[in-house]
Amino acid sequence: MNVTLAVKQYISKMIENSGTGMKVLLMDRETTSIVSVVYTQSEILQKEVYLFERIDSQSRDNMKHLKAICFLRPTKENVEHLIQELRRPKYSVYFIYFSNVISKSEIKALAEADEQEVVAEVQEFYGDFIAVNPHLFSLNLHGVARGRSWESSMLSRCTQGLTSVLLALKKCPMIRYQLSSDMSKRLAESVKQIITKEYELFDFRKTEVPPLLLILDRSDDAITPLLNQWTYQAMVHELLGLNNNRIDLSRVPGISKDLKEVVLSAENDEFYANNLYLNFGEIGTNIKNLMEDFQKKKPKGQQKLESISDMKAFVDNYPQFKKMSGTVSKHVTVVGELSRLVSERQLMEVSEVEQELACQNDHSNAQQSVRRLLQNPRLSELDAVRLVMLYALRYERHSSNMLPALMDELSRRGVSERHRKMVKSVVEYGGKRVRGSDLITPTDAVAITKQFFKGLSGVENVYTQHQPLLHDTLDQLIKGRLKDSQFPYLGASSLRDSFLEEVMSATGQSGDRAQGSSGRHGNRR
């Protein structure tokens, strides 16, 4: 169930298959990011892969002393490029791997192009997704939906991605989807169709409890993405932007050249791996410890190394020191920037009000707090809009809804038209009409008492009161209490015992991409 490992294993198998000698990796745009997320350059260099090329690149030279490993998505264009490549081969041998199911006719076309007999391998290796974390993958799609239905090309890409994950993990799951979302249903059906069609591929060893694929629609919980998070990875993602585990720090004032873009990968960075899900305060302490460690290990000053014994000590400590100095300066910069942003945008206060909006049920208080913050000139435009969005979602049907007044407040602040429109879009996207499960007011008795007790015992952390809906959904799923009426099984199966293996919140935003609503990292089980 480790998607990173799954892709890594695929790629090392590819390289292994090609034997020794200098190699070039031929990829397309998407597979390039698939590979680069799981492998660092130096790691892959050690496996004698020295060049990384795009199949569609025109500037490639004849290099008959290289072996080519092609890792491509089975698209029409790629096959066409490959046919051209095989007609006039630039490398000595070709090992071809497609990231998904490819049709027989295309294989035939390729075979007929290979007059020089340069192809040594044609296989399907199902690494058709970007493995961000061991338990999180993404397809990096934008604009998957038009209104409330799928963009058809995106539906098929999504289906391909999902089936490839299933194949990479060797799971043939039961499928459940969110009834209230038509898109979920379509995707579920589409995946099921592929499984039926490629039944021999999905013929895995049967487990006692079949794995489950649960398909959810983001619109069911539009609130969570609007909240500010306080764990390390989530903060980085929210405030600095985390794209394929890379952060772009070029906008940070006074940044040094080699820190313009840094990679945060739990695979290679122990500090990051340990602090991924810790909250901001804890990270501060840990980074302080890290610095102290570093100071200890730092060779005695950058001064001259006087005697041979000095040098000896230096030499012994040098590699660790170097490695550490990289980690330290990276994290110090990142955390420094985070705390700068937090104070600049007054995120503590904003977050407090956000949490109040999300978790408490006191309309007048909430609306006062929102108003108060909107008066604050230091509040950024984005945060202001997000607060109003939250309010709009939360008190959508409240009798004394103050939304128009708040909107006025926004325009008085000079918030742009585009941003103001988003408030309406978000309500359309994730409002009450759309939601399948009731996000805000708990209905059953258990939940009400739970909330009551929670209120009694006091909140332990104001900034992290909110529990995403996903948490509840998964909790119910594990306990076997997820209602069939809301999340029906696909197909005639009546197996009740389900075991959580996989979650995928598939659908993103439609045209009106509300800010900050990209799926958030963390909170996965």
């Binding site: 480790n2 990173t4 490992l5 799954a6 020794t20 200098m22 130096s42 260099l45 050690q46 060049l51 030279d61 290099m63 002393h65 027989k104 294989i107 390729l110 075979a111 007929e112 290979d114 007999e117 192809v119 044609v122 296989q123 399907e124 690494g127 338990h135 194949l167 990479a168 993990l169 060797k170 591929l201 006074g254 040094s256 080699d258 739990a266 305060g281 804890e282 501060g284 302490t285 302080k288 102290e292 100071q295 950058q302 190394l305 041979i308 014994s309 040098m311 030499v315 330290v328 300066s329 110090v332 420094g336 705390s339 104070s343 600049e344 503590m348 206060e349 952390n461 900034y463 992290t464």
Partner: protein, 782 residues
């Protein structure tokens, strides 16, 4: 109940030690606490007792079996794995994952390709055979008509009338635009679409194909030429016709040295040619690369071996020979140099060619060089240095002493335990009375004994293993008591039976142990006396050996002392300076804390704020400097990076500044060259590596040491003469210097790569110094 051991015999779970309650496995810090705990918690716990008893008895039986069989390693190594991911799920805990699903299309692909290839191969071979026929006679001396006749016989030409237009360009044929026939396939094209196969190319193709066709079973070879007029006859005819000259040659140029063919045939032939060329041509880069890989493989093979040796030698063991280790080190280093040289060669390959090589080729070369440097960096830095000869002797000495000390301790421990054991055996009360009370004082001593315990000594390890047996007996005794109190006769009977069995086993062991121990005692006594004698002798030797050396004013000897060959003073000094350096740092540390006022100020901030950083323990107690609501606010005035009070940040900043100020070249390889050149200029003419090798070869300290002054290592009395000892010292030092130079070079390179210019400066200065010393030494030697 000194140390419970529930799971170890089953081999699962973790090993718990300490005062564990046998029922709930709770660790209670002392025996008394455990006793109290037991009486309080479990005395009334009848429900469990029976099951527990059975369980325990079984365990005891198992323990007994194991002990009697003397099964050595019954404590499996259950090192608990430290979890990396605190939040979320630790992926390392997930079940091992096999390679995901795959599907191969190779068979299908090959099937379709084979059909295609057959077709293609036949076509090519047909062309080659025709080409052979066309060139197998003397074209130059034959007249055009003759040639034409032969050409026509090879392939049937297409009728002129059938082709009114050129099939390639579509132009109409007429008087001016005449038809031309391809000599290889007989098709027609116009003059402009015609191509020529030069004879040399034809020859090459034919000879190349012939070689490859020598493979038996090839289908093409057996293929007979299509038309009559076999090739063998043609050659014999040519002489007689040579004198004739024809008018046709005036109309149509004679194809002396080339053969007409169509575009299509030419294409096929050219492809064929390319393939033939590539077959025997291996570019330089491949040859170099292959050597590079070979060196890397060698290093992968030798380096771990060396590291093992060096570790053992540095620990003062004498499993390995210092000389062989030194030799191995040299060998590995030579491989590193080779890797460095080869990869540099690859990097500069073709760089100065006139049409500069394709950028991708250059990129490839750079990448190979980069990988090689990464490899060297990673592996070379892990290559620890060897102790010098003297140091090694010392290490051995130290180790011996340690061992002796340990031996002594063991002996004492053994005696003590023996005494105790005998005592306890004598005093062992009837099981029904106060067994526990007597056990009480024993427990702590047992743990103490196990603390001394080494691994090697068999007698002692057995006595430790014996403990469980005793403990079982105790356990059962107490249970027996309880059972009696509870008046469960059936259990009592069972327990008594078990107790008897256990005691029998124990008694057996005791007697055998006692015998073994007394034997060992005697042995050790004699051993120890010998050891003491030897020690005394050595001490004497040492004093005499070091006396003159310490007193000597020779500069090289003081050097020696700097190097830590006589560690006593050097190490102490180092420790002093370390201590001094550490204290100011510790003083300064609170100020570094201020860089994160957010963390420290939480003491003062309202409780709500604390809730976020709830787990933060303010490190310095320096919470007074902030009373603001938002702990992050303070950073507005003093941004993290610019906090002057933090020495650490200063450093980082300085580093950054220097990096940005200094010219920063991104191509590390150019720079590397510079450094090398510099170095070459500094040291001596010629490749520094080569020089080094010569040096170390010439002055291999170990060879000389064993050859010239064999007494130094073994008997110092022979080597009292200063003159003989000193050069040896010199040479060893040289070796060390060379090692240092090596290492520092690696760092310079490394630092250059990552662009830390200040470090580079520092290091190169050190390097110069070292080299200077080296040269001085050399001068002195001669």
């Amino acid at each position: 109940m000194a140390s419970g051991y529930p799971p170890p015999f089953e081999g699962t779970g973790e090993v718990k030690e300490g005062f564990l309650c046998p029922l709930c496995l709770k660790d209670l810090q002392s025996f008394y606490q455990l006793q109290d705990h037991y009486e309080e918690e479990h005395s009334g716990d009848d429900r469990h007792v029976r099951g527990q008893l059975k369980n325990l008895v079984q365990k005891a039986k198992k323990a007994k079996d194991k002990l009697l069989k003397r099964d050595g390693d019954d404590r499996p190594d259950t090192g608990s794995y430290e979890s990396f991911y605190y939040g979320g799920v630790d992926p390392y805990m997930w079940e091992p994952q096999e390679l995901g699903a795959t599907r191969s299309h190779v068979d299908y692909f090959k099937k379709h390709r084979a059909a295609r290839i057959d077709h293609y191969v036949i076509e090519v071979n047909k062309l080659i055979i025709r080409l052979e026929k066309l060139t197998s006679f003397d074209r130059i001396n034959s007249d055009a008509a003759k040639i034409r006749a032969i050409e026509k016989s090879v392939v049937s030409w297409v009728n002129d009338s059938d082709v009114p237009f050129c099939p390639d360009c579509g132009n109409k044929f007429n008087i001016r635009n005449r038809r031309h026939h391809c000599r290889l396939c007989g098709s027609i094209m116009c003059r402009r679409c015609m191509e020529f196969v030069p004879l040399p190319l034809a020859q090459k193709l034919i000879s190349g194909t012939r070689e490859s066709l020598c493979v038996p079973g090839s289908p093409v070879q057996s293929q007979s030429p299509p038309a009559g007029g076999g090739g063998s006859g043609m050659g014999s005819r040519r002489g007689s016709i040579s004198s004739l000259s024809s008018v046709t040659s005036m109309l149509e140029e004679k194809d002396d040295e080339k053969i007409r063919c169509c575009h299509h045939c030419m294409d096929t032939l050219l492809k064929r040619q390319q393939k033939l060329e590539e077959k025997d041509h291996t570019p330089d880069i491949v040859k170099l690369y292959e050597r590079l890989r070979m060196c890397m493989d060698k290093v992968d093979e030798k380096a771990p071996e060396y590291i093992r040796m060096a570790e053992s030698l540095n620990a003062g063991e004498n499993t390995y020979n210092l000389d062989t280790a030194g030799g191995l080190r040299l060998e590995v280093q030579k491989y590193y140099e080779l890797i460095d040289a080869l990869s540099k060669k690859i990097l500069t390959l073709n760089a100065k060619d006139d049409p500069p090589p394709h950028p991708k080729a250059m990129q490839l070369q750079r990448m190979i060089r980069y990988t090689a440097t990464l490899f060297v960096q990673e592996k070379l830095l892990g290559l620890m240095s060897l102790p010098t000869k003297e140091k090694y002797e010392e290490l051995k000495e130290k180790r011996k002493q340690e061992q002796e000390k340990r031996l002594q301790q063991e002996r004492l421990a053994a005696q003590e335990t023996l005494k105790k054991r005998q005592e306890s055996e004598k005093n062992r009360p009837p099981p029904s009375t106060n067994g526990e009370l007597l056990q009480a004082p024993r427990a702590p001593r047992m743990t103490k004994a196990s603390g001394w315990l080494p691994s090697a000594d068999s007698g002692n390890s057995r006595s430790e293993l014996q403990d469980p047996l005793l403990q079982q007996i105790e356990n059962i005794q107490s249970f027996l008591r309880q059972a009696r109190e509870a008046q469960r006769t059936d259990e009592v009977a069972m327990l008594e039976e078990n107790l008897r069995q256990l005691q029998d086993a124990y008694d057996q062991q005791q007697t055998s142990l006692a015998i073994a121990l007394s034997q060992k005692l005697a042995e050790e006594e004699s051993l120890q006396q010998g050891e003491i004698h030897r020690l005394k002798a050595r001490e004497r030797e040492e004093r005499e050996h070091w006396g003159p050396a310490v007193g000597s004013t020779q500069p090289s000897v003081t050097w020696e002392r700097c190097l830590g060959i006589s560690p006593t003073e050097g190490i102490q000094d180092e420790e002093n300076t370390e201590g001094e350096e550490l204290t100011p740092k510790a003083d300064r540390s609170p100020s570094s804390v201020r860089a994160f006022p957010a963390l420290t100020s939480q003491e003062e901030s309202p409780p709500r704020l604390r809730s976020l950083g709830g787990h933060v323990t303010p490190p310095g107690g320096e919470g007074q400097n902030s009373t603001s609501l938002n702990p992050f606010e303070e950073e507005d005035s003093t941004p993290v990076e610019e906090d002057p009070s933090n020495p650490f940040f200063e450093d980082i900043q300085r580093e950054h500044k220097e990096v940005t100020n200094g010219k920063k070249e991104y191509n590390p390889f150019d720079e590397d060259e510079d450094v090398r050149e510099e170095k070459q200029a500094e040291t001596a003419p010629g490749n520094p590596f080569e020089e080094e090798e010569e040096d170390s070869d010439a002055g291999n300290p170990f060879l000389e040491a064993s050859g010239n002054s064999p007494g130094v290592s073994t008997n110092p009395f022979d080597g009292d003469d200063d003159g003989e000892v000193l050069p040896d010292v010199d040479i060893i030092e040289e070796e060390l210097l060379l090692q240092q130079i090596d290492n520092i070079r690696a760092y310079i390179f490394d630092a250059k790569l990552s662009g830390r210019l200040d470090e580079v400066e520092l290091l190169s200065e050190n390097l110069r110094e070292l080299q200077h010393t080296l040269q001085e030494q050399k001068k002195k030697k001669h």
